[in-house]
Amino acid sequence: MTGRERRAGMILVLGCIVGLAGIALTFFVSGMQRFWINWIIWFLFLLTAGLGCLFIVALEHVVGARWSTPLRRIPERLSGLTILMVPVALVALFSLPVLYPWARPEVLRDPMVAGKAVWLNIPFFSLRVVACLVLWALSYWIFVSRSIRQDRHGDPGYTVRVRRFAPLFMAIFGITLTVVAFDWISSLDPLWYSDIFGVYLFAGTFLAGLAVTTLAVLYLRKRGRLQEIKPDHLYNLGGFLFAFIVFWSYIGFAQYLLMWYANIPEEVLWYKERLSGGWGVVLLAMALLHFLVPFFILMARNAKSDPRFLSGAAALVLFSHLLDLYWMIYPALKEKSFFGWQELSFAVLFVSAALLWIRRSMKRGEDMPVGDPMLREGLGFRL
């Protein structure tokens, strides 16, 4: 097994090198815009996956769920992606003058945009980004590092303390994620606004977190770890996935319906751009892959605990979350072509880097939070 693992590691390192070369070439050959737009998409994709996992951990503590305790270590480890995204986010700040119209002086002459300059300016934007990163890192440290320490000393006091912190985290999470949605995605078109947008990104974030957690759990089970996780636990994961697929569609459709119906130029042009020039097909694909197909896969009761169906649905959801970000962000470039070797090299780089990071984090602590007093009860969970 170690030989196989080493080989996999080699491939991932190779992927990183190839990807790096590819994105460097993109930067110099295809222009900065193409480079930065892909950078932002992948930054947000991995960030939302990590934050989604952190949210799953916090959710368990907020509602005092017991069934999910045996699974908790997996999202805890995966939420480390948030930390990986710290340097990526800081680098992404260089994209502001390239991608964001409000950062360019000639656009500021538009009074509608000029009015927003109090909020949309580079120093304040950077300050918000840094503040968000600090808050996430702090939450990660409180939730994860100390949970892993609990494996050794088994002090139940941690559980009580973290439960007190969890509601506060929910507030932090809600506000920071909304800031991410408004700053990084919505402000690409500074005239556009939608107050549901934070909720929409939240739905995608939670789904991404659930999907990576589910995939990781199923992978580890296949490799002979986490054998105490029963189909009953998987069923709940599948149930959450199912419920939030519907929630995502509901929020996405509500936003579309209201803008379509009111037909106000500031709002509807955003959709106009994202429905024309081939993007309509992407939206249609999203309706299928993000909603209908996983919905029907997970509808049957047995499918929710069947690893094959569950992993298929989770993979679809994860992919379509990427597609969702791609669909929201890429049309801001207003270019005709939207897929090429440039996008592929970004995918290779970020997927390899993320997998390397996850591989490393999968060695942290035990596979289950063995020090948690609720573990025994969680293991005994049956439907």
Binding site: F253, Y256, L257, W260, Y261, N263, M299, A300, R301
Partner: protein, 382 residues
């Protein structure tokens, strides 16, 4: 024992656990159909009794799909085909706006299939004549006891043996449930009476509905704004000195639509020419007006022969006759305006253009008696 048939033998258990323990034993001991009666759903009982999975989920899925298709079909057909109206500048088939109702009807169909399908189709309820409902243990079963029934299923079973088997497997007590005698309700005669009753009820309900619908809208306050505090035409009123509610127009008022006709007094009517062009639309209009107003007396062909002819002493004029055909358009127009002999004036019924259109048509009728070759267009000849 009396001659009633045994329906089942019940073993009463104190807990769900003892019921579950007993099932395998009884199953192997008695080759009859088993049924358990419990105060709440006991998990694992279906597998122990070997019951099939409930088909309800499939039924619901099918009906949900039918519900959404029905909703979409209704919305598409009414808004797009049968009654297309532009609202809010949206296309006739605006699927976005149809989604909410599609969703609601899907849920409605699905929920009713789940609920009523479960009750009526799968569980065959309501059913008040089940032998179990008359069992002495029923009040215990709905409270806190658990019963395992070995059912005869129409055959005779050895009550003693089964009772012993149930007791051995842990039943606290045993009850023999008998099939009730065939009740009068099940007889064909009763069925026939019910049919007649339904027929009578339908007639009464239909008649009552008819009268209700006829009278209900006239009840206060459902008068549909007919009852308004205003005067009707010709109604008297003391407000004005002349006692009439209606007012005459102010002196010198000119109607906006009527054109003064002064030909009679000042000039020769026969000098007037038909101002309208002889085109297909004008002739079509003329024919329609002629048929509506003139044909009653002058006949559809204008020859003065209709069913009304016999009722009049004076025969209506044959418009196709030589001397009429010799009249100028202006003279004939004057007749329509002023009337002649028993013919009244049609000035109030036909507008100026309409009168001229009728005249064009009358000319066509006259010409039709003596049609020339050049009247038919070259296209029609070929």
């Amino acid at each position: 024992m009396n001659n009633r048939e045994v329906f089942s033998v019940l073993g009463i258990f104190d807990s769900a656990q003892s019921l579950m323990r007993a099932i395998p034993e009884v199953k192997s001991g008695a080759a009859a159909k088993l049924e358990a009666y419990t105060p709440y759903p006991v998990h694992g009982l279906d597998e122990a009794l070997g019951l099939r999975k409930s088909p309800i989920a499939g039924m619901v899925l099918v009906m949900a799909v039918i519900g959404s298709i029905a909703a979409l079909g209704l919305e598409f057909w009414t808004s797009g085909v049968d009654y297309p109206q532009v609202t809010a500048g949206k296309p006739y088939f605006s699927w976005e706006a149809f989604v909410p109702i599609m969703f609601e009807l899907t849920v409605l169909f699905a929920a009713f299939t789940a609920g009523l399908g479960m009750l009526l189709l799968l569980n065959r309820l309501p059913f008040f004549r089940h032998p179990m409902l008359a069992a002495r243990s029923m009040p215990l079963i709905t409270r806190d006891k658990f019963a395992l029934a070995v059912e005869a299923g129409g055959k005779t079973i050895d009550v003693e043996e089964i009772s012993a088997l149930l007791r051995d497997s842990g039943a606290a007590s045993v009850e023999v449930v008998e099939s009730p005698p065939v009740h009068g309700l099940a007889s064909p005669r009763f069925f026939f009476r019910v049919l007649i009753a339904i027929a009578i009820a339908c007639c009464v309900a239909g008649y009552a509905t008819y009268w209700a619908m006829k009278l209900f809208p006239k009840a206060i306050p459902m008068v549909h704004m007919l009852d308004q505090p205003r005067l009707g035409p010709q109604q008297g009123n003391t407000f004005f000195t002349d006692g009439s509610g209606m007012r005459m127009p102010v002196e010198g008022t000119v109607s906006r639509i009527s054109i003064p006709y002064t030909v009679d007094e000042q000039e020769d009517p026969s000098a007037m020419g038909n101002p309208l062009p002889r085109t297909a639309p004008v002739l079509g209009r003329g024919r329609q007006l002629f048929n509506d107003y003139c044909s009653v007396c002058h006949g559809i062909l204008g020859n003065g022969e209709t069913t009304l002819t016999a009722a009049y002493e004076a025969k209506p004029t044959n418009l196709l006759s030589k001397n009429i055909a010799a009249l100028t358009d202006g003279s004939m127009y004057h007749v329509i305006m002023k009337g002649k002999n028993s013919m009244p004036s049609y000035s109030a019924d036909l507008s100026q253009d309409e009168r001229w259109a009728v005249l064009h048509y009358v000319r066509v009728l006259q010409r039709a008696l003596d049609a020339k070759d050049e009247d038919v267009s070259s296209a029609q000849k070929e």
